[in-house]
Amino acid sequence: MTAEVVGGARRELAVEARDVVRRYQLDGVSVEALRGVTLRIEQGAYAAIVGPSGSGKSTLMHLLGCLDRPTSGTLLLGGRNVADLSDAELAELRNRTIGFVFQSFQLLTRTSALENVALPLVYRGVRRAERRDRAAAALEAVGLGKRMGHRPGQLSGGEQQRVAIARALVGEPTVLLADEPTGNLDTRSGAEVIALLGRLNSERGVAVVVVTHDLDVADQARRRIHVRDGLVERDTGALGPGVDPR
């Protein structure tokens, strides 16, 4: 396991990207969404990724979540090179280690909120009754205890976003990757979600990486990673241990 010294303590690395490039081929034109990103997220970290639209934030998140493959460069999860993992190992990683909140929610439209949230547990072999209990608890946690039977189409944008967050939480991952989780929420529910992310990080030690345009969210994070044109422009984590980025 890769480890490094942060603030005097040995802290394990949750995710590491080494010189990662992601190039898209579109009608013969190649677009470089990421042009060589190197990044280390320690276990228990709380980082915010900020940057203008189209700068490559979502692309980076997908790579960190093992949902995509870099064109070049290396991705390490818990010290293991993602490129070397088998399909089953990757699936296990996505299922147990990572919780992902998509920018566009990605809910199954013909399925209830409860079943949407329970889906990760299905692939973990959790029994139906327990799945329901845990999914219900996760929905309660995001304030949707009264909307469990609704389908995504019967929920508001903010409610759908919270269902997506509940689904990322239900499996109790050690790394939570959230792509603009408050983008569709009003100030109050946005604040609730942020508080929730904060508690997950401080109480359970979940590493939280969140893409946001919301300064409140960015403020709460101990570390801010600025992305521009596919490159990490500024990373307050790089300032070194013990330095308050604010």
């Binding site: 949902l67 996505r94 889906l119 990760p120 072999g125």
Partner: protein
């Protein structure tokens, strides 16, 4: 993921998309039902004709002028009543030779009339063929010798022109000439909607005068045993050819007739099978189409499931179970529908339909194979994509 869980995931997915599931199933239902029905009609027709030819009686040799071949033109007969005696001597028993000269005529009593086949026969017909008289008696040798105007009625002729009245001893008009009813045949039923009881028998001598002819159309000889058939065939033909050196004659058995009919029915069955194959193909194309579309449409779902921790084999298992469930349900409904339709055809139309055990099995196997192949192959491909790539597909 356990298989039971995969089952439930598949079931949930099917239930969540009722219309699509229904349409996919419809393709299988139609394909299977069409095959079952068409094959049933083909085999039914074949079986019916075979039963009928066999039902004529056993060891019968038909002697007809000309060549007996499928497609050859019928020959005008030069056979006469003297030839009955000739063949009787060849067989060694005059009682084994039956004779026929036939024509379609109107049979009537007062205002009630019916168009029927009038068959001029000798007294040996019940002996050679299995024709039974239900009431009264059959034509005797004396009736033939004295050209007596007596008639044995087919059951539907009797019913049509006499109704509930007992026809025995009554007068009927056959082609305008009065005959006395001496018997009524047992009913034989119908074949392909053709009434086999719309027939009357009169003495051959009376028939020749009635039709104004000297000829007879055909002779039938009942061989004593199966082993006698082959040698008799040769002797019958050569005896006739000695007498009529310029003519050709044929002596054919039921087996040979069955062979010829079999060829005709083989053609029919081929056509029906081709139609069935086409409908199976159409059904299969329908199934594969919807399967392809459904997997495409669900590439996002596949991507999401993978993002949440599904392995490739979980995805494959889900789609395999979905395809199998659809095909099995559709196949069973199709078999039910095909069998039901066959029974209905049997009941309400003259076409007989006999369900062959292999046709539902075959149709089912083909459509299931198509459904599973076209459902699973694209799901397999989609399952290999990286989650984000799959999620981005429209």
């Amino acid at each position: 993921m356990r298989t039971g869980e995969a089952f439930r995931v598949a079931l949930d997915a099917l239930r969540a998309n009722r219309l699509r599931s229904g349409l996919t199933m419809l393709g299988v239902v139609i394909g299977v039902a069409a095959v079952v029905l068409l094959v049933a009609i083909g085999s039914g027709a074949k079986q019916e004709v075979e039963q009928q030819v066999e039902g004529l009686g056993s060891n019968i040799i038909f002697v007809v002028p000309g060549k007996f071949e499928f497609g050859s033109a019928p020959t005008v007969s030069r056979l006469t009543l003297d030839d009955v005696d000739l063949l009787g001597r060849v067989v060694g028993d005059p009682g084994r030779v039956a004779v026929s000269v036939a024509s379609g005529e109107t049979v009537s009593v007062g205002p009630r009339e019916m168009f029927a086949t009038v068959n001029g026969v000798n007294a040996n017909v019940p002996n050679v063929f299995d024709r039974r008289v239900a009431r009264g008696s059959y034509i005797t040798p004396t009736d033939v010798d004295t050209r007596r105007r007596v008639v044995v009625l087919g059951s539907s002729v009797a019913r049509t022109i006499f109704g509930d009245i007992d026809p025995l001893g009554r007068q009927v008009s056959v082609a305008g000439v009065r005959f006395r009813v001496i018997g009524v045949f047992q009913p034989q039923g119908s074949t392909f909607g053709v009434d086999r009881d719309a027939e009357v028998h009169i003495p051959v001598t009376a028939a020749q005068r009635l039709f104004g002819v000297e000829r007879i159309d055909a002779l039938a000889v009942k061989a004593p045993t199966v082993d006698d058939i082959a040698p008799l065939q040769g002797r019958l033909v050569s005896a006739l050819q000695d007498k009529y050196p310029d003519e050709e004659f044929s002596a054919v058995t039921q087996t040979q007739i069955l062979g010829t009919i079999g060829r005709i029915l083989g053609l029919l069955t081929l056509v029906l099978t081709a139609i069935a194959a086409i409908s199976l193909l159409v059904g299969g194309v329908g199934v594969s189409n919807i399967m392809l579309v459904s997997v495409r449409e669900r590439t996002r779902e596949i991507g999401l499931r993978k993002a949440l921790g599904a392995r490739q084999r979980d995805i494959l298992l889900q789609f395999l179970i979905e395809a199998v469930l659809l095909c099995v349900a559709g196949g069973l409904i199709g078999i039910g529908l095909g069998v039901g339709a066959s029974l209905a055809v049997n009941a309400v139309s003259p076409l007989p339909a006999v369900i062959a055990w292999w046709s539902p099995a075959l149709a089912f196997a083909v459509s299931a194979a198509v459904g599973i192949f076209f459902g699973v192959a694209p799901a397999r491909r989609a399952g290999r994509l990286d989650p984000v790539v799959a999620l981005r597909t429209e």
